[in-house]
């Protein structure tokens, strides 16, 4: 009986070593540093490999493609729509729960604002809005800007300027 118990104990002991290796997985605590983190945050001003250091242009760089707009829409729906709403009028779900209401993108001031303004707001935040630079890459900031421009444009197009098939679809929907 004793031996059987010992054997069981030995078997139990087998598991642990390989389950918990003496290395740090993501976010695993460590006692090397006072705050318990196993990784060091980068020093302020660190430039990552491949970072683009050229000055930020004032307009959306390069031609705006369908792929860029699709990407912009996807990123917008993830990071901006909770407050600005999927239509850009500023009635997102979080605003409905009491967050200060952001201005509508169809506000004449924002329609007239340069592309760079949207890029800068995403990068640095604006008033009650925090920065999204950590989660939205520079390329995606331009893609979102392009998508917001498309939203604004869509509001200003008269029905008569639509292609024939789109107009027909709109008429039947109404």
């Amino acid at each position: 009986m004793k031996r059987a118990a010992l054997l069981l104990l030995l078997l139990a002991a087998c598991r642990q070593e390989m389950d918990e290796m003496p290395r740090h997985e993501f976010y695993e605590p460590s006692d090397h540093f006072a705050n318990g983190m196993s990784a060091r945050p980068p020093v302020p001003g660190t430039v990552a490999r491949g970072d683009d250091l050229s000055p930020v242009p004032d307009e959306i760089p390069g031609p705006v493609t369908r792929a860029m707009l699709d990407r912009g829409q996807e990123r917008y729906d993830i990071y901006c729509a909770p407050c600005h709403g999927i239509d850009g009028r500023g009635h997102g779900m979080v605003v409905q729960r009491g967050f200060p209401q952001p201005p509508s993108y169809f506000d004449p001031r924002l329609v007239a604002a340069p592309d760079r303004h949207f890029y800068d707001v995403i990068t640095g935040g604006y008033g009650a809005m925090y920065s999204y630079a950590a989660r939205v890459t520079p390329a995606d900031r331009w893609a979102i800007t392009a998508y917001i421009r498309a939203l604004q444009f869509a509001q200003s197009v008269p029905v008569s300027a639509l292609p024939e098939d789109m107009r027909a679809a709109l008429e039947t929907e109404r």
């Binding site: 390989m18 389950d19 918990e20 290796m21 290395r23 997985e25 993501f26 976010y27 605590p29 705050n35 318990g36 983190m37 729906d77 993830i78 990071y79 909770p82 779900m93 979080v94 729960r97 009491g98 967050f99 200060p100 009650a128 809005m129 925090y130 950590a134 989660r135």
Partner: protein
């Protein structure tokens, strides 16, 4: 010569033999069942967290996309945990006096990250990669269950090797089109649609069960 064993010894001997057999079978059954039990796999376990964060409210009720908080999940092995700033994008203005959120505000003020306890934790000798699954059409809820209905996070799958292999042998029924990977209400398509997705992602199950896919 007198008999050494009384007549009852026959019965006792039989009993001992049967008992030994039952014990051996029991041990075998135990060694098969125990590693698959919730106690060992951690399935359905709920851990105490510094803040009782509710996916039901945030992902379900408010409809916030997983990537708003788990921003690395598309490219990296690790899904990424939201830094305190991510909570504060909303809670700088909402529920600013709630006691429940004291640890979040303290974390921002002192610059000490919140320490979430890991719910899912594979053994260190297993390699897992979120990016490889998400970009090949395997959705969050396939592995993590109905996250949008969880007031507190729990591990919905056993995460045993058997469980991984069940899918790696035949991933077709679990594949989704790219736009549905983060959806919480995805429904499986027809058999032909599911099979077509295998071609779309160019997936070859022949090599997906090689040991060195997961043990490297």
């Amino acid at each position: 010569m007198p008999q050494i064993f009384p007549e009852a010894a026959n019965g006792i001997a039989r009993l001992v033999l049967w008992a030994a057999l039952v014990a051996v079978l029991g041990l075998v059954a135990l060694s098969v069942l125990l590693p698959r039990s919730d106690m060992f796999t951690g399935q359905d376990r709920i851990l105490a967290q510094p803040v009782p964060f509710s996916h039901q409210h945030h992902a379900g009720g408010l409809g916030i996309d997983c990537r708003y908080c788990h921003a690395a999940v598309e490219q990296s092995a690790f899904a990424g945990m939201p830094p305190t700033e991510t909570c504060m994008t909303c809670h700088s203005q909402l529920w600013t006096r709630a006691e429940m959120l004291d640890p979040v505000r303290q974390s921002l003020a002192t610059g000490t990250p919140l320490r979430w306890n890991r719910v899912h934790d594979l053994a260190d000798y297993v390699y897992f990669n979120h990016g490889a699954h998400v970009s090949n059409g395997v959705g969050c809820t396939t592995c993590h269950g109905a996250v949008d209905e969880m007031p507190l996070m729990r591990q919905a799958a056993p995460l045993t090797m058997e469980w991984c292999l069940d899918c790696h042998r035949d991933p077709a029924p679990n594949l989704r089109p790219p736009e549905a990977v983060f959806a919480t209400d995805w429904r499986r398509g027809s058999e032909a649609e599911q099979a077509a997705l295998m071609g779309r992602y160019d997936i070859h199950p022949e090599t997906m069960t090689d040991c060195n896919v997961c043990h490297r």
